[in-house]
């Protein structure tokens, strides 16, 4: 074999166009895959950061610390309409003569806003399965409202059980408040506050419509002494 052929083979072995072309395409494929993996890793990282950020944001939105003094610490748990689930409670209302309403004295000292000068009191009864009559007293309800019926305080209470509700809150990580070492939970959905607590052996459920936060705190502190 001549020098020419030998040396041609030497360089062809190194610089063969077909061989290098295939190596280029393979490198391009590896690079693209590597870039895709890097992109996916980056996207995943950003996604995780976004989820964490949104979670922190939602948590911050959910619980809103609003009031604190020596004897109380009120934290509002904000809920949206999706957290509030309505139920069909099988109950019956029966108006109660004001003379027979329990805890008259206590409720005389509650700080109800002056414009809520209308009152309606009733009992909530559930069905007795043995005779199908609504004669099992579940709780009492005191409603204080204004003339236009847009501002309202509804206090439901019972000394035997938590009062039956026609809704429940589906949220995680509920923040507790306290007044005079009594625990309570306050929720807010738009212009409605829901407060639940146990005090002096009574279970309370208080629902306020278009009542300010200050008025709410005033009411709660007048009950929980």
């Amino acid at each position: 074999m001549s020098n020419k052929q030998i040396m041609k083979d030497v360089f062809d072995n190194e610089f063969n166009a077909n061989k290098i072309r295939n190596q280029i395409l393979l490198k391009s494929e590896k690079k693209t895959k590597k870039n895709m993996i890097k992109f996916l890793q980056y996207a995943t990282f950003l996604f995780v950061i976004a989820i964490v950020g949104i979670t922190i944001f939602i948590n911050n939105q959910q619980a809103n610390y609003i009031y604190s003094d020596v004897t109380s610490n009120i934290i509002i748990n904000k809920i949206n309409e999706f957290d509030l689930t309505k139920l069909d409670a099988d109950i019956k209302f029966e108006e109660i003569n004001s003379v027979n309403l329990p805890w008259n004295d206590m409720f005389n000292n509650i700080n109800i806003p002056k414009d809520l000068d209308k009152f309606y009191g009733y009992g909530v009864y559930t069905k007795n399965d043995s005779n199908n009559e609504y004669n099992i007293l579940d709780s009492y309800v005191y409603e204080y409202f204004n003339l236009d019926n847009n501002r309202k305080i509804k206090i439901t209470f019972s000394n035997t059980n938590k009062s039956i509700r026609d809704y429940f809150f589906d949220i995680d990580d509920v923040k507790e408040s306290n007044i005079n070492d009594n625990k309570l939970i306050v929720y807010q959905s738009e212009d409605i506050y829901f407060t639940e607590f146990k005090y002096n052996e009574y279970y309370f459920d208080i629902e306020n419509h278009e009542i300010t936060t200050d008025e709410l705190i005033f009411i709660l502190k007048s009950i929980i002494k």
Binding site: N3, I6, M7, E14, S28, E29
Partner: protein, 182 residues
């Protein structure tokens, strides 16, 4: 075949590649400081071409690709901390080249020195360790079919030096390969 590049792009790439490959290869060989770097650099050049294929604002032709090659050579040596390219056009001369002219017969016949054994890997390993100019001369002479005169014009060294480099290297190769075989 690549699974990432579509067929149409591949066809365009192949046409461009085979039309320009020899010229781009020659340009890179002449302008690198080590022939062993050529493969990496040429791959980088055509990877860039492949990337630019989708861009309608770029007219990919031989001149453009040679331009890419120039940049890739610079980048390669900048980022790989290799020996800075010393252009053969700078006029720097090795004093040994002058001695070659003095001590060897100008009429030596290179073709009379035959490499008796054909170990292409050995030859390549030897060539890439020599001065860059030697590998370039061999490349141009044997692979690109340049004659001595064209090589001297291309590399800006005189014809005697071209001949002498060829002669000495072939002799050395031959004696090394004989010794290897024994």
């Amino acid at each position: 075949m690549s699974k990432i590049v579509n067929q149409e792009t591949l066809n365009t790439f192949d046409k461009l590649y085979y039309d320009t490959y020899q010229d781009v290869l020659k340009h890179i060989v002449i302008n690198t400081s080590n022939i062993d770097d050529v493969k990496d650099i040429i791959q980088n050049v055509y990877l860039d071409v492949l990337k630019k294929l989708g861009n309608k604002n770029i007219k990919l032709n031989k001149s453009y690709i040679i331009g890419i090659a120039k940049n890739k050579i610079k980048d390669y040596y900048r980022f790989n901390y290799k020996v800075k390219i010393t252009s053969l056009f700078s006029g720097i001369r090795d004093s040994k080249d002058i001695n070659l002219v003095d001590t060897l017969d100008a009429n030596i016949d290179i073709e009379k020195i035959i490499i008796e054994k054909q170990d292409i890997n050995f030859i390549w390993r030897y060539l890439k360790k020599q001065k860059a100019v030697i590998a370039k001369i061999f490349f141009l002479y044997y692979y690109m079919d340049y004659n001595i005169k064209d090589i001297s014009l291309e590399l800006h060294i005189n014809e005697s030096n071209v001949k002498n480099y060829l002669y000495r290297t072939l002799n050395k190769l031959n004696s090394l390969m004989k010794g290897k075989g024994e």
